[in-house]
Symmetry: C2
Subunit: 418 residues, 2 copies
């Protein structure tokens, strides 16, 4: 493979995770190891920054700042939810790439992100512009195909598991009366996050909280739910329920839709399933109900990130650069689990174009017959992904997160007319 | 002061905090230093356990378990929300004390708890039953009078500040459009917790998030709120709002009351102010709004406890025992801040009977004229209270919290007929 000399560009897209910045750190530090890569640029707010030619010089950042990215939540370069559609926009992206001699493009995100990367790569090929495009996976929802798991998932599960355990201990402390604690977690199309809460149970304590877990992969029924709650209250005196926001009934309809409005990328706004279940329990069971809606904290709680997740997020960044330098393009980096008893993980590659089309569901055979708990296969899968704690730097009592200097790269093109 | 020989009893009452168990650890370890204290008992679920004669032997617990209490949330002995009213119930408490030769009673809680302790002590005096009763403060709401601050507050603020900082970083990452993040925190009658979120701003960065803080001590106005949000969005492109659940308008009415139902102690159920403000912003400003309702996690997040708070919670437990052994009774332990530049704190005493009547408000002069930010006096007060991190033990990726063996003390009385 002939060496391709030129500049590299990194962008972040979609909802941030606790470790998406660790992938940026991985790309930047690896890029600097290769002389064929001249400048290391970042795109502000992903595709938005590319369209507007808002690029920054990442090689100019202090090493301290790049190291700090390993433990900083949010998207340090800024993110976006933009699905390119107009041919003129794709042309504009290519024009920006050409203007800045971008020969390596690394795009960190989930389905839509990888889809956009694939389309840009196809256009470049069509126009004989040589560029290597590598996708880097991230999503707390863990639903990208072709990879054992997704960076961001382990940390989100570690945070959810910790919070469920703490809420359960608090609920258990109140001696009088029946109390139902409902924890609503993310998971638009899959139950990976809700299922992950099961790790809050101690080994060999199946009756530990969370007592009931509802995932979108199992059709939801009001009657069964109420029976489950009544049975648990009888046995335990309190009941901890974990529910994914994307819960559906047997006809495939969402149990709770917050509003009919759709976001810019055309996704309907889910939410409110916790409140829906609260109303149900209050009306039918008469127990007191608390709802915790963890929301964005699930993807932002870097103080509770799993060390293994941070390390793997950094690794997929590094591997993306290595793959591109070795001549790969149109691929997304994947995580490949070793076959041995002890957990090991290395990276692989999958075709970019195949990522967008598929949502990886929680395997139904990992859910017990009761429909509300996970079996040993899920434990074996998820337990290694939440291991290890990170040491976040503290300043005056609170986590100190890194900020980039974001030194602008001079613009050379006329302004974007979108 | 003549030495008083007999057994001691510890109870926990009201909503747990991240550090209420550290106070139990302080009492137990100090009690074992004094030969006049024979048995060290715990009451399960506070007054409920006393009425039902459900006592456990705390001296029989492993040292490991007692040490583990320092970093365990919830109430390890169980808690309750029970305000004794019937004379027969007070008589029953005294009968249980006599039956078990309880000569030292330590009750950990807030206003109602200290009130109950004062009444029991008065009855004992009336009946010439010699007992020393010492109250131990705890509340994340920080509103007990007579003490510089309350154990539990610093850890709750550390957790709120961390979460606000993480949510703000996440919100800041999304480049397109106006986004309002509303974080609803506890604080039925005072703004201590909401105000504490201001520590998420970096020093000398007044425009850092949280941009707007609303406390019950400042009358709320819809118009001013909407102006504040519009101004912030114009300046920052996104806006982080922190709001206390007990917000009131200029006539003193709660801005949002979840339901007319009152709990067992007669407190109305607050909540929903976050959703209320969301509806307001969506209707009047048209921005996208995210609401995070931190709920019980604020008082249960032991993984984010402030070391200084854990240490002080342990200290008030120790001091309670020392005071009682020295002949004090009818007092609550207080925290007394030193006058020097560097933060120091020792314990003092205040009359139990004076605690219940007063809610300590956030001093209005600590709020800036804009009504939505805190001045240097608040920073000077609160900053020392969130310092230091704790090392929670982890087991298989999640915090491992202690559980007590709770070896029952034999009952000697007829059952409680409440």
């Amino acid at each position: 493979m002939a060496e391709l000399a030129g500049n590299c560009l990194i962008g972040q897209s979609g909802g941030p995770t606790a470790v998406i910045n660790a992938s940026v750190a991985g790309v930047v530090s690896e890029a600097l190891n290769h002389t064929c890569i001249e400048e290391v640029y970042g795109a502000l707010n992903g595709m938005l920054g590319i369209l507007h030619e808002d690029l920054v010089d990442l090689a100019a950042e202090s090493q301290q700042a790049i190291r700090g990215l390993r433990s900083t939540p949010g998207a340090a370069l800024g993110s976006c939810r933009l699905k390119l559609k107009k041919p003129a926009d794709f042309e504009r992206v290519l024009a920006v790439f050409q203007a800045h001699n971008i020969r390596y493009f690394f795009y960190i995100g989930d389905h839509d992100t990888q889809d956009t990367a694939a389309k840009i790569s196809a256009l470049a090929r069509e126009q004989n512009y040589e560029i290597r495009v590598i996708g880097i996976p991230k999503t707390i929802e863990n639903d990208l195909p072709g990879t054992d798991h997704c960076p961001g998932y382990g940390s989100a599960v570690k945070y959810i598991g910790t919070t469920v355990r703490e809420l359960a201990v608090d609920a258990d402390a109140m001696g009088a009366g029946d109390l139902v604690t409902i924890v609503e977690v993310m998971g638009r199309n899959s139950g990976w996050l809700a299922a992950g809460a099961t790790l809050a149970k101690r080994r060999d304590h199946p009756n530990d909280p969370p007592h009931l877990i509802y995932v979108p992969e199992v059709a939801f029924s009001n009657d069964k739910f109420l029976d489950d709650v009544r049975r648990t209250l009888k046995r335990e005196r309190h009941c901890v329920v974990v529910v994914g926001e994307g819960l559906v009934d047997k006809d495939g309809n969402y149990v709770a839709v917050e509003s009919s409005a759709a976001d810019a990328a055309g996704h309907s706004q889910l939410g409110g399933v916790g409140e829906y279940l609260k109303d149900l329990v209050e009306a039918q069971v008469g127990a007191k109900v608390r709802v915790a809606r963890l929301g964005v904290a699930q993807r932002a709680a870097a103080h509770m990130a799993a060390k293994i997740d941070v390390d793997e997020a950094f690794l997929v960044g590094q591997s993306a650069v290595k793959a591109a330098v070795n001549g790969e393009s149109d691929k997304m980096i994947t995580l490949v689990r070793g076959d041995g008893e002890a957990y090991t993980c290395e990276t692989g590659l999958t075709a970019l174009g195949e990522v967008a089309a598929t949502t990886k569901k929680l395997p139904p055979e990992w859910v017990n017959e009761d429909g509300v708990s996970m079996n040993f296969q899920f434990y074996r899968y998820a337990t290694p992904l939440i291991q290890g704690e990170v040491t976040v730097p503290y300043d005056n009592g609170l986590p100190a997160y890194a900020r980039l200097a974001k030194e602008s790269v001079a613009k050379t093109l006329p302004g974007y007319e979108g």
